[in-house]
Symmetry: C2
């Protein structure tokens, strides 16, 4: 008899966007693991903080910023080992995940290492993409619209092709690619249909019509949403005044 591994989605940042199911599982877990930067706080832990208790054993998984862009194999090997020791001793382990665990989440690297051996359940969460559309006040996709999620690190030509053949577009991981991607959207004549968002649902949230974004850089947790689909009235919706 071994413990069960849970990957729970915590939503985009506001602790109130956790689901009832995630909360129940989180509160019952003796062991809680989460990704953390080498300096500063873990974002996933911050979201879950109001619901954690002192009696829970915590396993921070330190992923240094400098290895963010290539698989940190050794770090996940070690984290999977630490987690498996608890599971083998019949203790359930909850892994905290920003957004949704399987939507571009690093939880999958623990899942890859542990799902064969241990019982595992994923609890889906609210994605920042849906939360972004809510904040922007613009439907993400409607009717038979094709919605494409495009990571900003991709080459210009790929991003352009993907935008062209889509009705609704979410560009994720904008970060240091902001200026390049904004220029590309400008060249395609789509700036007026685009909204920029960062730190969605948190007190430090920022929302701009893309044309009004004052900075040339964006944080990693940022998003550009573009609508050019079947519902023409969506394009006539006023983009919100800059919220800073």
């Amino acid at each position: 008899m071994a413990g069960k591994l849970y990957g729970i989605g915590l939503g985009p940042g506001d602790s109130e966007l956790i689901t009832l199911k995630a909360l129940r599982i989180l509160r019952a877990a003796p062991v809680v693991a989460y990704p953390a930067p080498d300096t500063g706080e873990s974002f996933a832990r911050q979201i879950a903080a109001p619901f954690l208790s002192d009696e829970q054993k915590e396993i921070p998984i330190i992923v240094p910023m400098r290895v963010e862009r290539f698989p940190a194999q050794k770090i996940y090997d070690q984290a999977a080992h630490a987690i498996s020791e608890h599971l083998k001793h019949d203790r359930d382990v909850v892994v905290l995940c920003e957004g949704d665990p399987f939507f571009y989440g690093s939880f999958m690297y623990l899942y890859e290492r542990l799902a064969d051996e241990f019982d595992c359940e994923i609890v889906p969460g609210v994605s920042s993409m849906m939360a972004g559309a809510a904040v922007l006040g613009r439907p993400l996709a409607a009717r038979n619209d094709v919605l494409t999620v495009i990571p900003a690190p991709l080459p210009d030509e790929d991003i352009k092709t993907q935008i062209e053949k889509s009705d609704a577009i979410a560009i994720i991981k904008v970060g240091r690619h902001f200026e390049r991607v904004a220029k590309l959207i400008e060249d395609m004549g789509l700036t007026d249909q685009a909204g920029y968002l960062e730190r969605i649902s948190l007190p430090e949230q920022k929302v701009y019509p893309l044309a009004d974004m004052p900075a040339k850089k964006a944080p990693y947790f940022s998003l550009i949403l573009i609508y050019k689909g079947a519902e023409d009235w969506v394009e006539t919706l006023p983009l919100p005044n800059p919220q800073v």
Copy 2:
């Protein structure tokens, strides 16, 4: 002083996948509106049922199945009018939405009619796409994968082009298009990388490797997920045994 309009996402079906925020707003609302078929129960109301009270005024928005595929303008005009009467009398109105309100949701037709005049807040919800990946035990998208959401009613050639240029694919609204879309996926040699899901997170949930789907028709709330992205190990994950 007028009431506030809320569009709240209830998630894919399991009442436990409601967020804390949606629950708080739902419980406080004097008026609750929801889409309903002309015969049978409202799916959105079913999800919210454990949290409704007898003191709440309910407004079912009857959308007959036969008008599902073209805009039911008059129905939404009437519903918006009924809702606006409550808002004008300083009563908040919550509109219940399956999944997420702005991810292919009909809430947008009320939003279109009411957001100009009244204060409106959207509470994002867990999408069936994320919940489907969780149930399937396969990450939806990773790293710089391009994820495309493709409505099944689109023509074959469009679906094929969209699948070709994507790393991860969610085909939604499968319903009566199941056989045609399954054939198309077969012709592209992707059947072994595809999972089929219906009524996700509900007791009547069904999950199959696409190759094992026994029926030739699917319900409207069904989904096909395909992964052919950067994380090769995902393609080697066993698709779950048929859950019926």
